[in-house]
Each structure stands twice: as structure tokens, then as C-alpha cells.
């Protein structure tokens, strides 16, 4: 048990070190892709909280990334600091996410998906049509990258570290949240809301919280997205982003802490690796995802989970057999 624990910690340290050191040799484009992975992981972690842990379907996560991105774009291009934009985006997305959670108190599953889909479309229309605020289809360009403790992060590598550091902080916060009684209540909400309610768990409050916190993380991702691309227009925040994020969560392993990391890696990096196939990469990608979901509906981490629990069951039955044999020997 302790050996496995050391192995896990060692593996974690190696991965983190690699994420810090290896990209030092990357070119501009490589760093952009990796930064995008970090940003999308944050957004997917938010959706994983709402969908994976609390079991509430949402097709609006992309809209919250958009709200965060526009908040950052508008505020920083008017000379305000990014950290201030981050605060505004979190509060704004938390509040809107909370309100969007209300339909979830009445409808579930595909009905809820439709409600959130409608919100997603509404947000897109606001981004596109409210020229006075968002500059419409022309978008907002020349979004500045922030200075951190006096260091400019204009260049790709420093800004990648901003994204990676943010991912680290968000990961710790989410880790804390899902280990807390709140995380347990979210799982109870997903698994059996009727029993949860009878155990005193205020399912209404936790449902709204799951939506609000998940949406706020979408806002955090958006706040990083704007200075990363340095240009924001409505197109990236169309429904397809919400669907992409949904896919990241499901492919990685919905309800697993590391699911979004893997899912975002596949969604952001795999198309890049398959680029050599030229026009076919989207098709190959689609086939890979379909096969994965047929083989393991619980995603990549679901395969690992199944493997571990099978081994545990085998070990336990072996132990029982030994205990039984001993009983038979002793009269």
C-alpha cells in the first residue's frame, strides 16, 4: 500500500517536472497548444464537477468560458489588471451558473441538457450581437498579457507558466472540494438524490452550488483564454466548445479527478498529432472516440478503475480462500 503511494507521488512529481522543464525547448506553436491544454483542462474540471460528480448535465460550459474570455478582453484592453478581471469573471459566472442551476431542480438528463443548450445559444447571440460591449463579429484584438510580480508574460513560455500555475491552483482547490463533505454530497446527489435528501443533504442547495462552482471554473478558463489567444470573437464559444468540453469529460473519465486532464489532452493534442493524416484526422479522431466509448463508457480512467477493482476482487477472494483453508485444517 505504501509502495503504491510512493509510486503515485513519484509519478506525480515526474509529470509536474516534465510539464515545467520539457516545454522550455518548445517552439511558439507547441507552447500555444500546451497552454490551450491547461486552459481547457480548467474548464473541463469545472464541467466534471457539475456533470461527473454532481451528475447534472450541462451543455453550457463553453458559454462560461466565453463570458470569462470577454470579461478579461474588455477589462484588460481598458487598462484594468487581469487579476481584477479574474475576480469579476468568477463572481459573474458563479452567479449566472447559480441561476442556470434552477431548472436542474425541476428537470433532469436530456431535458436539462436542452435548457443549458438554450442558454449556450443565448450567450453566443449576446457575444455576436451586442456590438457596443463585445465589438460583435469583429471581436476584440490586441488583448494584453499580464505582468506577474513585475515580470511581463508577453512571451509564450512565461505565459505558459501562468496557465500551468493556474491549473495547479485550480487542481488543488478542486481536489480539496471533492475530498470535503461537499464532494461526498455531490456524489450522493448523482447516485441517489432521494436517499441523499432523507439523510439531511439539502440537494437543492448542493445542485445550485455544483452548477455555480463548475461555471465559475469555466470563467477562470476564459480569463486565461483571452490573453492566450490575444484575440476574442464569438466563434470559439459556439455550442461546439460546450460539446468539446463535454467530450473531454466523458472521454477522460467522468467523475474521476484526473479525467479532465486526460480528456483535454486527447481533445487538444490528438488532433495535432493526427495532422499528418491531413483531411482524415477528424474522421480518425471520431472513430477513436466511438470505439473508446463502446469499449469503456466510463472513459479512459474507467478502464484503469475496472482493472484495479478486478485485481482487488481477485486478491480478496484469494485471501478468503486462504482463510477458509486454514479453518479446514484447524479442527
Amino acid at each position: 500500500m505504501t509502495a503504491a503511494k510512493y509510486l503515485k507521488i513519484g509519478f506525480g512529481i515526474v509529470v509536474i517536472a516534465a510539464l515545467i522543464i520539457v516545454p522550455m525547448n518548445f517552439n511558439r506553436y507547441g507552447l500555444f497548444i500546451l497552454s490551450q491544454w491547461a486552459v481547457m483542462t480548467i474548464a473541463a474540471m469545472g464541467l466534471n464537477l457539475t456533470l461527473g460528480y454532481a451528475g447534472q448535465v450541462s451543455l453550457a460550459q463553453g458559454a462560461f468560458v466565453g463570458i470569462g474570455a470577454y470579461t478579461a478582453a474588455i477589462m484588460t484592453s481598458n487598462g484594468l489588471p487581469l487579476i481584477g478581471a479574474l475576480g469579476v469573471a468568477i463572481v459573474l459566472c458563479f452567479a449566472i451558473g447559480w441561476i442556470l442551476g434552477y431548472p436542474a431542480l425541476r428537470v433532469q438528463h436530456h431535458y436539462l441538457a436542452f435548457v443549458t443548450l438554450a442558454f449556450s445559444t443565448l450567450a453566443f447571440l449576446v457575444f455576436r450581437n451586442e456590438d457596443w460591449l463585445t465589438k460583435g463579429i469583429y471581436g476584440i484584438s490586441n488583448i494584453p498579457r499580464p505582468e506577474l510580480f513585475g515580470y511581463p508574460t508577453r512571451r509564450p513560455l512565461p505565459f505558459y507558466y501562468v496557465c500551468l500555475g493556474s491549473l495547479g491552483i485550480v487542481s488543488l482547490a478542486v481536489w480539496w472540494l471533492i475530498r470535503s463533505p461537499w464532494g461526498r454530497a455531490f456524489i450522493a446527489l448523482r447516485e441517489n438524490p432521494v436517499r441523499a435528501l432523507s439523510l439531511g443533504i439539502d440537494t437543492r442547495r448542493y445542485t445550485l452550488m455544483a452548477f455555480a462552482i463548475g461555471s465559475a471554473l469555466g470563467g477562470v478558463a476564459g480569463t486565461l483564454y483571452a490573453p492566450l489567444t490575444q484575440y476574442v470573437d464569438p466563434v470559439p464559444f459556439h455550442l461546439s466548445l460546450s460539446l468539446d468540453l463535454l467530450m473531454m469529460v466523458i472521454v477522460g473519465g467522468s467523475g474521476f479527478f484526473f479525467g479532465p486532464f486526460l480528456g483535454a489532452m486527447i481533445a487538444v493534442l490528438l488532433p495535432e498529432w493526427l495532422r499528418f493524416t491531413q483531411g482524415y484526422y477528424l474522421m480518425l479522431y471520431a472513430i477513436a472516440v466511438i470505439l473508446l466509448l463502446i469499449y469503456s463508457p466510463t472513459g479512459i480512467l474507467g478502464i484503469l478503475d475496472r482493472f484495479i477493482s478486478e485485481r482487488r476482487t481477485k486478491a480478496a477472494s484469494a485471501q478468503r480462500a486462504v482463510a477458509k483453508a486454514k479453518l479446514e485444517v484447524t479442527p
Binding site: 463533505p181 461526498r184 454530497a185 439523510l199 440537494t203
Partner: protein, 247 residues
């Protein structure tokens, strides 16, 4: 002795069917009231009306003198009313200990302290005690879904006691539990009743279990109360024999 639960004239109809048709009864503090009757006589519907899973069409429910009719189950649980369901309702992916911590956590602190406080809400010790009390020690870290049916049933009952309830409504706790485990379960319920002064209402079809555990038994038939009395009185009641117990 005070009245813990007061049910007056509860009615619940689904379409044209009167599932519960004017049921009234009281439960005294520390009492174990058995609730028996043929399948479909309205026992579980009555439970659901008392506990807020269903809103009764008419009637009133009081807990410790306070009207709680139609109150949400989570708020009712906050007042010290707990329950089990007829079908198993444990959380299969959480371990036995986690299930118990979950069952008690909302009785600890407030929303904020449950977010920033310790991950076990300070309940590991209490959960371990409950695990010991229900003899589930060797299974504490197993996912609840991996337990046998009888063990899950024990866990299900144990969960109802984690919040230190005043009143517990148990819906068929003995259903599907083997004889050895059944004796354990009865023994544990009696012990909690004695030591914690917890009040129980128990729906059960196992007559031996009901008659030996309960201080008073209420018989329902076709949505109404047929008879109430001590176990020996109920056994001898001709109407009950006719409707339910058989000769």
C-alpha cells in the same frame, strides 16, 4: 413520556385510488411501533407522507408537537427524523465508512465548515463506532456495492442512526436478511432503542421479528387502521387474523 410523532387523519390518493385513507396514530418517546399489513395496504405510502417524500392529500403530521406536514425530507432530517427505504439505498461506490460519514455529515457544523473543515467532518470516530456496533469492522474500507445483500441492509440501517435521530422509520429492515444476521439486526435495534432512547416505527412482514421487537403493533388494511395493540393482543385479534395473519 411525551408524544414524538402525531399523525392525524392522513389521506393520500393516486388518481381514483385511496392508498392511505384517513390514518391517525401517535408514537410515544422510546416506543417501537410495528406497522404490519398485506402488500399494497398503504404502509410505505404512509411513511412517504410522514417523511415528506410525498405530500399528503389531507391530514397533519406533528413531530414533537411541531407541524411538519409537507416539509422537505432534508429539513425533517434536521429535526432528528431519519428513515430507511424498502429497497436498498446505500451508495455503492463509497466505502462503508464513507457511507456512514455521508449519513452524518449534514448534522455537523454548517455549509462553510463542511467546505473548509476536515474531509471527514470529524465523524471518522463515530463512523468506526457504528461500524463496530453493527459488526461490519472487516468491511469498513470496502465499497458498499461489494457487500452481500444482508450486509448492505445492515449498513443501510446503520446510516439511519448516524445523525443521532430521535425518531427512525424503518421500512422492511429484515427483508432478505438471513436468520443469523436478522438476530443481530434485532439485537442492535433493541440496543439503540434502550441506550439512546430512540423511537422507532418499523414496517415489517417478518412476524417473529415484529412481535419480539415491538412494544406495540398497528395493523393496516386497505389504507385504514385495522387494529392497534400489544403484540399478543394483535395475534389474538380475529379481524387481523382474517385480513392478514391467517389461521
Amino acid at each position: 413520556m411525551s408524544v414524538v410523532l402525531e399523525v392525524s387523519n392522513i389521506r393520500k390518493s393516486f388518481g381514483g385510488i385511496n392508498a392511505v385513507n384517513g390514518v391517525s396514530f401517535d408514537v410515544q418517546e422510546g416506543e417501537i411501533l410495528g406497522l404490519i399489513g398485506p402488500n399494497g395496504c398503504g404502509k410505505s405510502t404512509l411513511f412517504n407522507c410522514i417523511l415528506g417524500q410525498l405530500t399528503p392529500s389531507a391530514g397533519e403530521v406533528k413531530v414533537d408537537g411541531k407541524v411538519v406536514t409537507g416539509m422537505r425530507p432534508s429539513d425533517l432530517n434536521g429535526l432528528g427524523v431519519s428513515r430507511t427505504f424498502q429497497l436498498l439505498q446505500v451508495f455503492p461506490k463509497l466505502s462503508v465508512r464513507e457511507n456512514l460519514i455521508l449519513a452524518g455529515q449534514e448534522h455537523q457544523g454548517n455549509m462553510l465548515s463542511r467546505l473548509i473543515g476536515p474531509s471527514d467532518a470529524g465523524l471518522t470516530e463515530a463512523a468506526n463506532q457504528m461500524i463496530g456496533f453493527f459488526k461490519l469492522d472487516h468491511l469498513a474500507n470496502e465499497p458498499a456495492g461489494g457487500l452481500s445483500y444482508g450486509q448492505q441492509k445492515l449498513l443501510d440501517a446503520a446510516m439511519a442512526f448516524m445523525g443521532g435521530p430521535r425518531l427512525v422509520l424503518l421500512d422492511e429492515p429484515a427483508g432478505g436478511v438471513n436468520l443469523t444476521m436478522l438476530a443481530d439486526l434485532k439485537d442492535r435495534l433493541a440496543a439503540i432503542n434502550r441506550e439512546k432512547r430512540a423511537t422507532f416505527v418499523v414496517i415489517e412482514h417478518n412476524m417473529e421479528f415484529v412481535m419480539s421487537l415491538c412494544t406495540r403493533v398497528m395493523v393496516m388494511a386497505e389504507g385504514k387502521v385495522l387494529a392497534v395493540g400489544r403484540p399478543d393482543e394483535i395475534r389474538a385479534n380475529p379481524a387481523v387474523i382474517e385480513a392478514y395473519l391467517g389461521h
